[in-house]
């Protein structure tokens, strides 16, 4: 029995991991333009980006998943709805891009002006200043908040079940209905624990690597 349950849960966990990896990859990248938009000197762009971030961070991710999945076909009758998985991924990527952009922004804005000015007086170009002076300092500053947010993402993947994605908790819950077993649901917790434990180790390593200097 234990192995059948484990097998089933692993099937669900594969989807959990898929949502995690895809979301992480795209929102780490897309967070950057959003961050630069929210710091733009061009007011309309800054205003627009900050409103977007405010809306996304101010509403539940669960609601966003539902809206992305059902919304388009409700508004335009002819639109074929997105597949469930695509809808989840789109909603997650949008949501996490907004969160990551704020972390990037915080990290970039925390760099003292003196760092840029010192580099400028030494004749460095803007590109050199970004890559040689600012970037590592930003990375060092954002690793701790980033780790928090990424651990949250691991657990947020369970929200996908709201539109019937059979991620790991869904699979665990099925055993209640089909076999009247409660323990598989508790067992799913172990998957999250192990996954988050591994990530915590990795983040610890990264922080340690950047420990050679202080900002």
């Amino acid at each position: 029995m234990f192995w059948t349950v484990t097998g089933k849960l692993l099937d669900g966990f594969a989807l959990t991991c898929l949502i995690f990896v895809v979301t992480l990859f795209f929102s780490l990248i897309l967070g950057l333009p959003v961050a630069f938009g929210s710091m733009s000197r061009f007011k309309p762009l800054r205003w627009l980006t900050r409103t977007f971030v405010w809306v996304i961070r101010g509403t539940p991710l669960m609601l966003q998943v539902i809206i992305v999945f059902y919304g388009p076909s409700l508004i335009w009758e002819r639109v074929t709805p997105l597949s469930r998985m695509t809808a989840v991924l789109v909603a997650f990527v949008i949501n996490y891009s907004a969160y990551f952009s704020e972390i990037y922004r915080g990290g970039i804005e925390a760099i003292p002006k003196g760092q840029y000015e010192a580099a400028q007086t030494l004749g460095m170009t803007k590109v050199q200043i970004f890559f040689r002076v600012v970037l590592v300092q930003v990375v060092k500053r954002i690793v701790p908040p980033m780790s928090n947010e990424i651990l949250t993402l691991v657990k947020d993947t369970s929200l996908a079940r709201i539109i019937a994605i059979k991620e790991v908790i869904w699979m665990g819950q099925e055993f209640i209905a089909s076999r009247a077993l409660l323990w598989p649901l508790f067992y799913t917790g172990a998957f999250y624990l192990v996954f988050c434990g591994l990530l915590t180790l990795i983040f610890g390593k990264i922080e340690k690597k950047l420990d050679y200097f202080k900002v």
Binding site: G114, E117, T121, G123, M124, Y212, K214
Partner: protein
Amino acid sequence: MENTILEVRSLSKSFGKVEVFDDISFSLEKGSVMAMIGASGSGKTTMLRCLNFLETPDEGQILVNGECIYDALDSSTHQEKDIRHKRLHFGLVFQSFNLFPQYTALRNVTLACELLATENSDYRTGRSRIISDINSRARNLLDQVGLSDKLDSFPHQLSGGQQQRVAIARALAMKPDILCFDEPTSALDPELTGEVLKVIKSLAEVHTTMLIVTHEMSFARDVADNVVFMDSGAIVEQGPPSQVISNPRESRTRQFLDRYLE
């Protein structure tokens, strides 16, 4: 006046409605040291920032070695890509050091030199020689400021006085015509100011052209060939320290100094 290395002509700067200074002119002889003193808010920092192209003056001209590098009325002197090179006429040592925290003392000194060297046409062929030259020069400079045993230390492992001395070596590495200091010891504990002032004095002895904003009056008197006293955005008095600091003519200078000497 063929030895004039820096000439500032009728420079003015405002931030919005706040006029920082108006119609300031002075000149600096090659190999000489000028100390700039004045009350807080009198515009000293802003003046140094204008010279280093960190602020844009509203009016006036800046000439280095007789060449006009900035003219408020001539927009061809404002071009972004030229400014980067013009900055190199000046070095700036900040009140708060501003070392790059992720690099060792040695790397702080070499980084910008190496990046600049990549723009040379012979960089590709002579790369290893150029880099080793830059490295040995940097070691010499750090030796000169008394830090030959701290080459591999990171800024957070150094005291404020040591960090400031690295910053001085870093600025010198770019071979500026004029080295500017903005209150180089103001952020330091009193027992650490001595080591930094000593380094600046040793630079004066080898005739490094320097423009030093400072509140250390006895230091200014010792090291400067000329002292400029600024008050509310204007030069009130300038001359040798024996005049401006020891025997000021203007009552405003006297009032200012009285506050410092008590």
